[in-house]
Amino acid sequence: MSGGHAATGGHDAVAYEPVFVGETRAKLEALFPKYPTKQACLLPALWMVQEARGWVPPQGIAEVAEVLELTPAYVRGVVTFYTMYHLHPVGRHFIQVCGTSPCHLCGSDDVIAAILKETGCGELGATSPDGRFTVAEVECLGACGFPTPVLIDDDFIDAVTPERVPGILARYP
């Protein structure tokens, strides 16, 4: 099971710690020879920022732009295209539930309702008051034969039913 991310409240007050130092820097630079342009490392670099910070903060966008020799505006255009990058802080555990037709046919609405109730999030997109979960309904997760698939952080869980929800969530403190 992958670890969650530390809560990310109040970081405006805290000075931004660069992501691309030490090991992460080395990890990024190891990618450079695999592509003919540095720009091609943009999606991987954004993943690294999100992995380190739990989301992609504006300073992260600026940092990625600098290391890849792009403008922050360019990076913004790209980062807003892809729905998996968080442009706002999220709870310790980010839950994505599929709600597209095949899963809807098999009861994803009930799974979503169960998750919202169990996490205390109240509504989609919201973070639970304890900062533990953020729940999002997402489009097709590509596991339609295993309804309803749920992605919690990096854990892909097949065939979630409302009954399974409490047990699954208990694994994410």
Binding site: Y35, A40, L42, P44, M84, T100, S101, P102, G145
Partner: protein
């Protein structure tokens, strides 16, 4: 095989033979099951001979378009010092489709082997495998397998000592359906928004990083080692109906069936048997109402059309739809067609890249109209409006996302009009949907 269910006797398992077999994931396990023999054989052949073999097999793209694979490869220019690229499309995001995920989860080396053969055949030193961001498990399994393939000498500077350089790089998507479109995928790898590109130029002329590029689907590439091992003629012989559709294919069946799963059948297999026998048929007391066979981007089939169709490229067209990616969304008589069509339109509106006017505005507008109908606030004229908008959203844009949004709407209204009428006449209870 219809993983997670045991193989059905009517299946013809080639690609899916080792689904569920954890040992097949490792290099050694794959070799033990006959793996990498095809790559070794291919490295001893000329690229032209490989392409001929694939042409002879009749293999067609399994991602949705159904373009002959060998022919596509033959479009690649002769080596000229410029880099050539192979891109493997593992961005499986088409609603109803979940076959590539299983290939990567269970038989990563099958895909790596196929990529390596194809890369060699088209003169590409490097292959990028673009895996959708949500596929965390396939990503981990593929990463480990690629690492192992390098360690065992199947990939790298001299694949199996052949002197041929073959590199595979995994590239992770980040949540965008449209990146499954081949030119959008190239943009995405280049670190851009996943906007589809205008063609021409075609990828074989100027593709990834402006260089000659071939893009193939996971399932297509996974079939290649088997074709090399057993011969194009053998593959071509796997055909129950139209000789233009050959080989076996994974059919993802989901929705209202008793045994959802991936079923590998010979091309031309009756759809009726696929749904009612292999996939276990409907739940007790339920009747088949509709099937969207190509993933969600194709016209909806009525039960009668589905039950009359043969599962291949031509057979499904004959019954008013398309094979697409062969992800079957099956609906029984409990399904609310209007809601499901609305839900699909919402999907396309969410995924539209925003480039073309008709798609950007049309997908959102049609979603709003469908929502209004569901809320019991629809007007009789809404159906004609939907049909007219759909017509203008079809064949007008850079890629087919907009067409894909229109296909279920048009076919839905034409084939299941009474369900729309029930909402419009307020005889059916409204559904609370926002947009």
């Amino acid at each position: 095989m219809g993983y997670p269910h045991p193989s059905h006797q009517k299946e013809n398992v080639v690609l899916s033979k080792y689904f569920g077999d954890v040992e097949a994931r490792s290099f050694a396990g794959w070799v033990k099951r006959g793996g990498y023999e095809a790559l070794k054989k291919a490295l001893g052949m000329t690229p032209e001979a490989i392409i001929e073999e694939v042409k002879a097999s009749g293999l067609r793209g399994r991602g949705g378009a159904g373009f002959p694979t060998g022919l596509k490869w033959s479009f690649m220019p002769k080596p000229s010092g410029k880099p050539h690229y192979l891109v493997c499309n593992a961005d499986e995001s088409e609603p109803g489709t979940f076959k590539d995920r299983e290939i990567m989860r269970w038989t990563p080396h099958q895909l790596i082997e196929g990529c390596a053969i194809a890369a060699y055949a088209i003169g590409a030193e490097r292959c990028y495998i673009y895996i959708r961001g949500e596929f965390t498990e396939p990503w981990k399994i593929m990463s480990a397998a690629v690492q192992e393939a390098y360690a065992k000498g199947a990939l790298g500077e001299s694949a199996f000592g052949s002197g041929k350089r073959i590199d595979i790089v995994l590239h992770r998507g980040a949540g965008a359906y449209i990146c499954g479109e081949e030119t959008a995928m190239m943009n995405s790898i280049e670190g851009k928004r996943g906007n589809p590109r205008i063609k021409p130029p075609f990828p074989a002329q100027a593709g990834l990083f402006g260089m000659p590029t071939t893009i193939n689907n996971v399932e297509t590439l996974s079939a290649v080692p088997h074709i090399l091992s057993r011969g194009g003629a053998w593959y071509k012989g796997l055909c129950l109906s139209n000789p233009k559709s050959t080989g076996t294919k994974l059919f993802s069946v989901c929705g209202h069936v008793m045994r959802p799963g991936n079923y590998e059948i010979t091309m031309g297999f009756p759809m009726k048997d696929l749904i009612h026998d292999l996939a276990g048929g409907m739940r007790p007391g339920r009747r088949l109402k509709a099937v969207i066979p190509g993933g969600s981007s194709v016209p909806i089939m009525t039960a009668a059309e589905a039950e009359a169709a043969l599962c291949d490229y031509e057979g499904i067209v004959e019954q008013g739809s398309m094979l697409g990616s062969a992800g079957f969304i099956v609906m029984d008589d409990s399904a609310d067609l209007v809601y499901e069509i609305y839900r699909l339109a919402k999907f396309y509106a969410h995924e539209s890249c925003a480039q073309c006017t008709q798609c950007r505005e049309g997908t959102a507008w049609t979603t709003k109209i469908l929502a209004r109908i569901l809320r019991g606030e629809g007007k009789t004229s809404d159906l004609d409006l939907l049909l007219d908008l759909s017509e203008q959203m079809t064949g007008r844009t850079i890629c087919v996302l907009s067409d894909s949004c229109a296909a279920p709407i048009v076919s839905g209204i034409k084939k299941f009009r009474e369900e729309f009428d029930a909402y419009l006449s307020r005889t059916k209870a409204p559904v609370a949907v926002v947009a």
